[in-house]
């Protein structure tokens, strides 16, 4: 098992890092989650698997494998060191509702979520937005414009997605670092307004 990375350059965090924060990058199939994380990450994006056992199945019963007792969900993630003591992780999470176990793990301790939306496939975003709301995570909407799609006015999108007036909508090209960083910044600014209100 080759467990040590080929080169240690840039693999490890600085020893001084004390705090790790997490933001989720979510959205429907092929909306740009992996691209966004790859654009922003300082390390080559990594992939992890979460294995889930369906209710009632025995983990230790290998015979149960034949009965499809487990499913595997893959998540991409990346890392951004933000200061000498703070690191931010971005996790790309698929939006399927049935992966409840994964969502519990992913949302626990997350600052918030950036929901990537393709304006031509708005309906596909509904289940993802529902899920994020269900887990009580504050979020911002990032509209990824794919080539040659017409720009839709913000109020139209807000209405179609049934968003609160304060929920930020930004446009973003997940292939562009400045554009992707701006989307994250918009999310964090929004999170700040929420803590202000609570205080």
């Amino acid at each position: 098992m080759g467990s040590r990375p080929d080169s240690a350059d840039g693999v490890y965090l600085d020893d001084a890092v004390q705090i790790a924060a997490k933001i989720l990058v979510v959205g429907h199939f092929a909306v740009g989650k992996t691209t966004f994380i790859g654009t922003m990450s300082e390390i080559p994006p990594l992939r992890t698997e979460e294995r889930m056992t369906q209710a009632g199945a025995h983990v230790d019963d290998l015979g149960g494998v034949r009965g499809k007792s487990t499913t595997t969900v893959a998540m991409d993630f990346g890392r951004i060191t933000l200061s000498s003591k703070l690191v931010l992780y971005l996790f790309g999470t698929p939006g399927q509702e049935r992966f409840v176990q994964v969502w519990e793990d992913m949302t626990r301790g997350a600052l918030g979520a950036l929901i990537l939306v393709d304006p031509e496939r708005l309906k596909e975003s509904f289940p993802v937005i529902d899920l994020v709301e269900q887990y009580g995570l504050p979020y911002a909407i990032s509209v990824n414009h794919f080539d040659e799609t017409p720009v839709r006015p913000e109020n139209e999108l807000r209405e179609a997605l049934d968003l609160l007036p304060e929920t930020p909508i930004v446009t973003c090209d997940a292939r562009d670092q400045k554009s992707s960083a701006d989307a994250l910044i918009a999310l964090v600014r929004y999170l700040q307004t929420r803590t202000d209100r609570r205080a």
Partner: protein, 123 residues
Amino acid sequence: MSTPGDPEALSVELVRPYVITNGRGLPDDDQFNLITLVTTSDQPRPSHLDPEKHSVLDLCSGGLLSVAEIAGHMKLPIGIVKVLLSDLSADGFLVVRAPVPPAQLVDVSLLQEVLNGLQARFG
């Protein structure tokens, strides 16, 4: 590296997690989450450790990594990695940088630091 459709790799995939956690279920503990930061302690390693635990310690001896990164580099599911880390930590082989408690996570100053960091790096 295993490729989907390779029958041998598939069976290994299905069996190994069970074997390397000695049949225990996956822990639902709070000690390790995806972004808990981990590195090795100074405690010398015994030679009779499980190979998977050796691999974890090899990886972690290079510096600080999150649980998610350890799983990603080792190509093991998160749940399995948590089991291995719990054992190694209980035996004193790891230094764990405790995750920020939820109340502190929405701390105003933390969000400000995240914002400052993003602006400094990408602004």
